[in-house]
């Protein structure tokens, strides 16, 4: 294995660690807000690290760009989703309250 393969392996393993921590947090933390906090960490950093690890292995710049795009979209969706859940829990003004 090249040093670049080792770098990939270490980064992917670190990313997986964040996902495990996020899952444990989701299962074990006491309230909604701390659970959200754990979950978004896993999405942002875990996926980011896995993506950084996979990036040196892709075939060309276009594939790398697609990976980057996936990460950015997950960031956007994760942040918005967490915001909506927290907003509804905090103020009761969810986007879909019964009248």
């Amino acid at each position: 294995m090249d040093w670049i393969d080792w770098l990939s392996a270490v980064l992917v393993a670190l990313g997986a660690l964040f996902f495990i921590a996020g899952t444990v947090g989701l299962l074990r933390l006491p309230d909604l807000f701390s659970r959200l906090h754990a979950l978004t960490k896993a999405d942002n950093l875990g996926l980011g690290l896995i993506m950084l690890g996979v990036l040196p292995q892709v075939g060309g710049p276009l594939q790398g760009l697609k990976l980057l795009m996936i990460w950015l979209l997950v960031l956007l969706a994760g942040a918005t989703g967490a915001h909506l859940i927290a907003k509804r829990a905090l103020r009761g003004d969810g986007e879909d309250m019964f009248e």
Partner: protein
């Protein structure tokens, strides 16, 4: 060797989780929870398809089975909860245990029979001539280089036309059943900002999916699902029409797929060829025309299905 063992463990975990998710979704008493589990099941199933090296099916399963199917079922659960609150929901009867066990037993027998057929074709007698080899050999004449698209839009174009018809008929059913469900509240600033980014991106990606479908995984159904998803997001952010135009225009959009498909087929008959028998040198453009129309129609149909009825 050790690599094969890890792969086997991976596959067993993959299948075990799939079965566990299916059982959990089916046995969940609360509709919303069952739908969530069903969405997880669909995403997991698309992983299984990816492992079976069927990226086209994996894409379709994730986009339509888990994504839009999940959104439609969540909308139904929301509507049911609303109507129950207003005391006008239909009572849902749970099936009797006898029916459940009977069905389970029947499915097991069917699964065993299928396994037996699979096993005996693989291991019984000499290797027969496989349809896949014949089909793959003639892909270059089909007008596209992606084998899945060549099967869907050329070899069995007739089936795909009927599938579009089924989708359109399903929407006619939804429209005849009554009014649209209540719209969502207008979105707050964070959701509005996300919608402003994501919806144009979805439309762009749908165009990409449609075009790339000729040579790589993608095509009209995946592209249409992305357009439908854009509609779902718009409705969730407060647009009661899910980004769709007025009803007359909607009818045209929804029937566009079947109409263009059938017209291409009939024009080919007039030209002296069979119904939907493309001449090889024009096949690419005819398929692209049919797929473009189908993409718009599928997107409009899925978004309109999410609205859930005719708008007042």
């Amino acid at each position: 060797m050790i690599y094969d063992l890890w792969l086997l463990i991976f596959d067993l975990v993959l299948l075990g989780t799939l079965l566990a998710l299916a059982v959990a979704a089916l046995s969940s008493p609360e509709p919303r929870r069952a739908v969530m589990l069903f969405i997880a099941f669909g995403l997991w199933l698309s992983l299984v398809w990816a492992r079976l090296r069927a990226p086209d099916v994996a894409l379709a399963e994730a986009a339509i089975g888990a994504g839009l199917g999940g959104a439609l079922m969540l909308a139904a659960a929301r509507r049911q909860a609303r109507e129950a609150q207003q005391g006008q929901a239909l009572a849902v009867e749970r099936p009797s245990p006898l029916a459940v066990w009977g069905l389970a037993f029947g499915s097991l027998i069917a699964a065993a029979a299928l396994l037996w057929v699979y096993y005996s074709t693989l291991h019984g007698g000499p290797e027969p001539e496989r349809l896949a080899d014949l089909a793959l050999a003639r892909v270059p004449e089909s007008g596209v280089t992606n084998p899945v698209t060549s099967v869907l839009l050329n070899y069995r174009a007739y089936d795909t036309l009927l599938e579009l018809g089924v989708l359109m008929t399903a929407l006619l059913g939804i429209w005849s059943l009554g009014r649209a469900s209540a719209p969502f509240q207008p979105a707050g600033p964070a959701l509005t900002a996300m919608v402003a980014w994501v919806v144009p991106l979805l439309i762009l990606t749908a165009g990409y999916m449609l075009w790339i479908g000729a040579s790589a995984p993608g095509g009209a159904f995946q592209a249409g699902a992305l357009l439908g998803a854009a509609g779902v997001i718009l409705r969730l952010a407060g647009d009661p029409a899910a980004g769709l135009p007025g009803e007359t225009a909607q009818r045209w959009l929804v029937s566009l797929g079947v109409a263009v498909f059938a017209l291409v087929g009939l024009a080919l008959m007039v030209a002296g060829l069979g119904f939907l028998t493309y001449p090889p040198d024009q096949a690419k453009w005819l398929i692209l025309a049919v797929e473009s129309a189908a993409t718009v129609a599928i997107g409009a149909t899925l978004a309109a299905a999410y609205v859930g009825g005719r708008r007042a």
